[in-house]
């Protein structure tokens, strides 16, 4: 991994890249604490920290209140962690697809992979179990990714064709998601707004386990492809000239994206705009080489998800609104602002 650009020591910009990722991690920790404190029952940050310390086996300060302990550990903690993984999934998959297709508006939800994951997740949830919804989402995402690759391939192999193919495929698959939702047993399959706008409210420790395991495999594949994505930035022809097996790399990256975003969709539904917005911000702050863009987008995606979920829980408290309303309401205008200026990342 540590060859060429991005390697510490010969790169005067490595320090800033690490700084950006560390700053995002600090903000993420702050957002996580805030999400643990805020809700219908307000819990003071000190109390939250005491609960967390005890859970980690450190007896610091007074014994925390039992109810606070239950709210933090049983309800809010799994929701925060699922939000972190799902947000990271959205961020890293957006970054990977933008790199693969060399197109700033590539995103799994626009490319039909999100709808495929929704269909897989809805079918998986017919069994009534969370792990099968997550696994179904991952399988659906991977199948949709393969379909986009197969249908979008043309003799010219232009990236924009993949995007158009994905849009059409996504619209068609979304109709089937609706069909499954409206025909199936409503106590098992989540409602249509879950598949369109997402919701973290049903997150449990079981969700977190399946989600982390499934998405983790895909994330490893995507991080392993970081250097290949850098070479692909030169274009397919030059990547081949440099010995890259472009077809194999495309397959691995698309399957990785399908598994990662698919698992996230199975767990929390479709939360739009994170994968579209976050990688652009990371590139502007930390440069465009893919190791930092993938990692930074994962952390940034998790941060955006937690902030949006915080909003979703407080704007009409005690009622909740779908988290995707927040990410779209904020992400949409922000994305418009971002693409107004040509993207010139820092070195």
């Amino acid at each position: 991994m540590a060859t060429g650009p991005g390697r510490a020591g010969d790169d005067p910009f490595g320090a800033r890249r690490r700084g950006v990722v560390v700053a995002l991690l600090v903000l993420l920790a702050g957002a996580a604490i805030a999400n643990l404190c805020v809700g219908p029952v307000h819990i003071a940050p000190a109390e939250v920290l005491r609960v967390l310390a005890r859970a980690a086996g450190l007896a610091i300060g007074d014994e925390p209140d039992a109810r606070a302990r239950a709210v933090v550990l049983d309800i809010r903690m799994p929701r925060v962690l699922v939000g972190i993984v799902a947000g990271a999934a959205a961020g890293i998959t957006g970054a990977a697809l933008q790199g693969l297709f060399r197109n700033p508006v590539a995103d799994p939800h626009l490319l039909g992979i999100g709808p495929g994951a929704s269909l897989g997740g809805a079918l998986g949830s017919l069994t009534g179990s969370i792990p099968s919804a997550v696994a179904g989402g991952a399988v659906g995402g991977m199948i949709a990714a393969l379909l986009v690759r197969r249908l979008g391939r043309s003799r010219a192999n232009e990236p924009s064709r993949f995007i158009l193919t994905g849009l059409a495929l996504g619209a068609a698959i979304s109709a089937w998601v609706g069909f499954v939702v409206f025909v199936a047993d409503r106590t098992r399959v989540p409602p249509i707004d879950f598949w369109l706008l997402g919701n973290l409210g049903a997150s449990t420790w079981a969700t977190l386990g399946t989600l982390s395991l499934t998405a983790g495999v895909g994330v490893v594949a995507l991080l392993g492809a970081a250097r290949t994505l850098d070479v692909l930035a030169l274009g397919e022809a030059d990547a081949r000239r440099l010995g890259v097996d472009v077809d194999m790399a495309t397959l691995v990256i698309l399957l990785g994206v399908g598994a990662v975003i698919g698992a996230a969709v199975g767990a929390v539904g479709v939360v739009v705009f994170i994968g579209l917005v976050v990688p652009h911000v990371v590139r502007r702050l930390a440069g465009a080489t893919h190791r930092v863009v993938l990692l930074g987008s994962a952390v940034g995606g998790a941060l955006m998800m937690l902030l949006a979920d915080l909003g979703a829980r407080v704007v009409v408290s005690p009622r909740e609104i779908p988290v995707g309303l927040l990410t779209a309401a904020i992400g949409g205008p922000f994305f418009l602002w971002l693409i107004r200026k040509p993207e010139v990342p820092r070195p």
Binding site: D230, A233, G235, L242, G243
Partner: protein
Amino acid sequence: MTPHLAARGVSYRAGSAEVLHGIDLEFIPGQLVAVVGPNGAGKTTLLRILGGEIAPSSGAVTIGGVLLREVPDLELARMRAFLGSDGPGDIPFRVTTVVALGRTPHRHGEGNSAARDAEVVAMTIAEFGIPHLADRIFGTLSSGERSLTSLARVMAQECPVVLLDEPTGALDVAIEERTMGLIRARSRAGRVVVSVLHDLNVAARYADRSVVMSQGTVVADGPPEEVLTSELLTDVYRHSMKVVPHPLRPGPLILVG
């Protein structure tokens, strides 16, 4: 392995059109070969076949005595570097990073290390006179600066066979002269260098050998001062040309009438 490149009986058809026919060429280390000829003569197609990017319809290319199509991709990428005429788009990477991508085939290679990669990248950037651009974003460069960066990337690949399609098209006269000197130095150092060139005077000045193509065949092959004659060029380009002794240095000067 001798980095020797040869095409034997190479023909190429695209649909019903025969783009190349019956090409027999041999390239030896130490020689800078210019491929010249009018648009549509098949120069780029020949270069792409020599580089293993497209397979000939008949005939074969060998590299170091081995059939090109039997060389695995990664090994080929360590043997031949290729500069395409259509440069990459607005890559959002620093120039140093772009040049370092040329080291890709050598990653995990025997005897290679990150330190060696960094050294080659820095040396190549210095050689091509672009240290002042090292931290600039490639996508913000002028077309000439992009050409130099891409050329440095291809040279950082350190291959015994170097194929260049119009390497100096976007460069100003002075930088073109300097750059052609560097390319010639690379061939003198024992590499096979084959370059498509549009500027006949550049070919005449720097190439050891000119391969003149017309309508998919090689119509002349030899030292520029022997091959580039008024009659041949007028015939091949269907435009009046005159070759006179260069007034400022030895060698021919090609005038377009």
